[in-house]
C-alpha cells in the first residue's frame, strides 16, 4: 500500500506540473484549446490525488490528516478542488494559470516532508479530527483561491495590456465578487474549523481556548478576513484595499500552517 501511495503521489506531482505548463502555454500561445487541456489534466491530477489520499488512509488505518506531509497534501487537494469549482463555475481558465503554481508549490512542500506512517498520539484519537482538519482544508483551499484572485485583481491593468488576457479576465467588479465568494466560503469553513477545534480541545486538553500559537494565528487569520469583509462594504475602501487584505490573509494562512509549527511550537506541534 505504501509503495502504491508513493507511485500515485509521484503521478500527482507530474500531473499538476503538466497542468501548470499547459495553463502557461494557453496564455503564452493564446490558444483557448490549451486551457481546456489544462483543465482536463488538472481534473485528472485531482482524481489521482484523491486516490493517493484514500490509499494513504487505508495504509495508515485512519484519516490521513495528522502530520505536515498529510496536511500539505490535503491542502493542495483542497486548493485544487476549490480552484476547479471556481474555474468551471465562473468559466475563468486564467485562474488556473495562477492557481496551478500555488498548488504545485504546496504539493512540492509535501514531497519534502517525511512520508512515514506513525501511530496517533492519544490526543489525536478523536472523531473531531475529521471535522476539524477537513474543514481547515476547504477553508485554506478557498483562501488560496481568493489570494490568487486578489493577485489577478491587483495586476489586472498591467497584464491585460494586450487583448487576449483582457478577454479572458473578468472585470474588476466581477473579480472582486468572485474573490468575495471564495473568502466567504473560506471564512465559513475557518469558523467551523475554529469551533470544532475548540470543542475537541475541550475534550482533549480540558480547555476550549488556551491561546496556543496555532489557535491565536487561526484567530488572527479570521480577524484579517473579517476586516476584508468590512472593507469591501465600505465605500472608497473596496477593491484594491480589500484585495490587499485578502493577500495578507493568505500570508497569515501559510504562517498558521507552516510558520507556527516552525517558529512557535505549542500544543499543535504535531500538526
Amino acid at each position: 500500500m505504501e509503495s502504491l501511495e508513493r507511485v500515485l503521489f509521484t503521478a500527482v506531482l507530474f500531473t499538476y506540473f503538466a497542468a501548470m505548463v499547459l495553463y502557461f502555454a494557453f496564455i503564452a500561445m493564446k490558444k483557448d484549446n490549451l486551457s481546456k487541456g489544462a483543465l482536463i489534466v488538472q481534473a485528472a491530477g485531482f482524481l489521482v490525488h484523491t486516490c493517493t489520499i484514500v490509499v494513504r488512509g487505508i495504509a495508515a488505518g485512519r484519516l490521513p490528516l495528522t502530520n505536515q506531509y498529510e496536511f500539505a497534501s490535503a491542502f493542495a487537494w483542497g486548493l485544487c478542488l476549490v480552484s476547479l469549482i471556481f474555474i468551471i463555475r465562473f468559466r475563468f481558465p486564467v485562474l488556473g494559470a495562477f492557481a496551478a503554481p500555488v498548488i504545485f508549490l504546496i504539493i512540492g512542500y509535501a514531497a519534502m516532508q517525511s512520508k512515514e506512517i506513525h501511530e496517533l498520539m492519544p490526543a489525536l484519537k478523536s472523531t473531531w479530527l475529521g471535522f476539524h482538519v477537513s474543514s481547515a482544508i476547504i477553508s485554506y483551499g478557498s483562501f488560496g483561491v481568493s489570494f490568487v484572485l486578489s493577485i489577478i485583481f491587483l495586476m489586472r491593468d498591467r497584464i491585460t495590456a494586450h487583448g487576449f488576457l483582457d478577454e479572458h479576465i473578468p472585470s474588476r467588479q466581477k473579480l472582486d465578487l468572485i474573490s468575495y465568494r471564495s473568502v466567504a466560503l473560506g471564512l465559513l469553513f475557518l469558523t467551523i474549523t475554529i469551533i470544532s477545534g475548540a470543542i475537541w480541545a475541550d475534550r482533549a486538553w480540558g480547555s476550549y481556548w488556551s491561546w496556543d500559537p496555532k489557535e491565536t494565528w487561526s484567530l488572527v487569520t479570521w480577524i484579517i478576513y473579517a476586516v476584508y469583509l468590512h472593507l469591501r462594504i465600505r465605500r472608497g475602501w473596496n477593491g484594491r484595499a480589500a484585495a490587499i487584505f485578502a493577500v495578507i490573509g493568505f500570508i497569515c494562512v501559510i504562517f498558521t500552517y507552516i510558520g507556527v509549527n516552525t517558529f512557535l511550537p505549542g500544543m499543535h506541534s504535531y500538526a
Binding site: 484519537k125 469551533i195 475537541w200 480577524i223
Partner: protein, 427 residues
C-alpha cells in the same frame, strides 16, 4: 449632533470596528512571538534587560490577560453591542420594506429585460420561488418573486454570536473552578478546597503492539463528603474522553513517575506512602525534616554531561533523585538506586516500586454553554450573510409581453450575468 450622539455613532461605526480588529490582530501576533508566563530574569536572559523591562512594563509576559488586551476586547464588545442596537430598528424597517412588493418595485434595479413572453419560465430558470400576483397602486398587475430575505439579518446574527462568545469566554475565565488531582491507584485526594474527594481506583498506560502510546485510562471514584450518601460516582477517564460528575468535568491530563517511600526510625517502620515526582513529604514525628522527590528515572543511565537520564520508560533500573530539607534549608541531594537508603540521624529513607501516577483536571465552567451558543450563532450568521443573498425578480405586463426586472444587492454583476443568460436562453 450632540457629543453623546457623536460618541455613540463612533462606537457603533464600522471604522471603529476595523481599527479594533486590526489592533487586536496585531496584539495577538505580537503576543504569540513572546513566550508567555516567564519571569523578568528569563526574558533578560533570552533578549536583553532593556527588552525584558519593556515586556514586563507592557504586560507582554501575560498579554492575553493584560489590562490593555481586556480593554481592546471590551471596546470590541461595545462596538458590537452598539452596532447591533443601532442597526436593529434599521433592519426591522428593511425587512418590512423587503417584504412589501410595492416598495421593492420602486427601488433600485440590477438588471432588466423587455419583451419577455414567459416571465414565469425566466423566474424558474433563475431558481427563484414561484411568482405571486401583486396589484400596484395604479392598478397594474405584476408578478413578484423574492428569496432569501433572511440574509439581511446575517451580519446582525453574526455580531450577536461574537458578542455572546466573548461574554461566555470572559465570564468563564473569571468564574470557572479548576483543580488538579494526581496520585497512584489507591490514593484518595481532596479536589482543591471543595467537599469532593477523588479516589484513583486504577491507572493504565495502554500501548500499541509496536510499543507506541495508545491511551491513558484512569478509573476513579468521586465522593461528596458533605453528602450523607457516601457511595460516590465512578467513571473511566481517557484523553478525549472526559467524565461528568457532580457538575464537574474530569479530564485525563498527564502522567509521570512516582514511587513508594518508606521511612524507618531505629529499625521500625515510621511512615509508608507513595510520592509522585515533584511532591514532598514531611517526616511524621519531625515535620521540620522534609523529603522531596525531584524525579524518578525508571531506566537510569548517565546522560549528557553525566546528568541522570532514562534509557526507556520500563522500570529496568530505577533511580530516584531526591532532596532533603531541614528547617527549610536544603541539607542533601543525590540519586538513590535500587536498595540504596538515605540515613539522617535515626531516620532511614528508601524508595521502591516505581509506578506511573495519573494527573486529572477537574473543572467547572458555568459559561461554556454561552460561548458555544455564541459560536453557533456566529456560524448561522455567516451562513445567512454569505449564502442567503437576497434576490428579487418582478415582471410588469406591457403591450409586447412583459418587462422583467431583477435586483440583488449583494450578488450584483454575477446576478446580472445569470439573469442575462437565462433571458438569452429564453429568446
Amino acid at each position: 449632533m450632540s457629543t453623546g450622539k457623536k460618541i455613540l455613532k463612533f462606537l457603533s461605526s464600522m471604522q471603529f470596528a476595523v481599527i479594533l480588529l486590526t489592533v487586536l490582530a496585531a496584539a495577538c501576533c505580537a503576543a504569540s512571538f513572546i513566550s508567555q508566563g516567564q519571569t523578568y530574569e528569563w526574558y533578560a536572559g533570552v533578549y536583553s534587560e532593556r527588552t525584558a523591562a519593556i515586556i514586563m512594563a507592557l504586560h507582554l509576559d501575560d498579554a492575553f490577560h493584560s489590562w490593555w488586551f481586556v480593554m481592546i476586547t471590551l471596546f470590541l464588545c461595545l462596538n458590537l453591542f452598539f452596532c447591533n442596537v443601532v442597526r436593529l430598528p434599521q433592519l426591522v424597517g428593511r425587512t418590512k420594506k423587503a417584504n412589501d412588493p410595492l416598495h421593492v418595485i420602486k427601488g433600485p434595479v440590477t438588471c432588466s429585460k423587455e419583451n419577455v413572453r414567459d416571465p414565469e419560465l425566466l423566474i424558474q430558470k433563475m431558481h427563484m420561488p414561484k411568482a405571486r400576483t401583486v396589484q400596484t397602486e395604479d392598478g397594474k398587475t405584476i408578478l413578484f418573486s423574492q428569496k432569501n430575505t433572511a440574509g439581511i439579518w446575517g451580519a446582525w446574527v453574526c455580531h450577536l454570536g461574537i458578542l455572546l462568545l466573548i461574554a461566555g469566554f470572559g465570564l468563564g475565565q473569571m468564574l470557572k473552578q479548576e483543580y488538579t488531582v494526581y496520585g497512584v491507584p489507591g490514593q484518595t485526594k481532596q479536589v482543591g478546597d471543595t467537599s469532593y474527594w477523588i479516589t484513583i481506583d486504577n491507572f493504565e498506560t495502554r500501548r500499541n503492539p509496536n510499543g507506541t502510546l495508545d491511551q491513558y485510562i484512569t478509573e476513579l471514584t468521586m465522593r461528596d463528603v458533605s453528602s450523607t450518601d457516601g457511595t460516590g460516582k465512578s467513571a473511566s477517564v481517557t484523553v478525549n474522553g472526559p467524565a461528568s460528575m457532580y457538575g464537574y468535568r474530569v479530564y485525563q491530563n498527564s502522567t509521570g513517575w512516582a514511587a513508594d517511600m518508606t521511612i524507618t526510625k531505629s529499625g521500625e517502620v515510621l511512615q509508608e506512602q507513595p510520592l509522585c515526582a515533584g511532591e514532598f513529604a514531611l517526616v511524621k514525628d519531625k515535620p521540620e525534616l522534609v523529603i522531596y522527590l525531584n524525579a524518578v528515572y525508571p531506566d537510569l543511565i548517565a546522560g549528557a554531561n553525566g546528568m541522570p537520564a532514562t534509557a526507556s520508560e520500563e522500570p529496568n533500573n530505577p533511580g530516584y533523585l531526591y532532596s532533603v530539607y531541614y528547617m527549610n534549608e536544603i541539607i542533601g541531594m543525590n540519586i538513590l538506586e535500587k536498595d540504596d537508603q538515605i540515613t539522617i540521624d535515626d531516620y532511614t529513607v528508601s524508595f521502591h516500586d516505581p509506578q506511573n501516577y495519573t494527573l486529572v483536571q477537574v473543572k467547572k465552567d458555568s459559561f461554556a454553554w454561552l460561548a458555544f451558543v455564541g459560536g453557533m450563532l456566529t456560524l448561522i450568521g455567516l451562513l445567512l450573510a454569505f449564502y442567503l443573498q437576497r434576490s428579487v425578480i418582478w415582471a410588469e405586463k406591457t403591450d409586447k409581453g412583459y418587462t422583467v426586472y431583477g435586483f440583488s444587492p449583494k450578488a450584483g454583476v454575477l446576478f446580472k450575468e445569470q439573469f442575462d443568460e437565462a433571458a438569452a436562453e429564453k429568446e
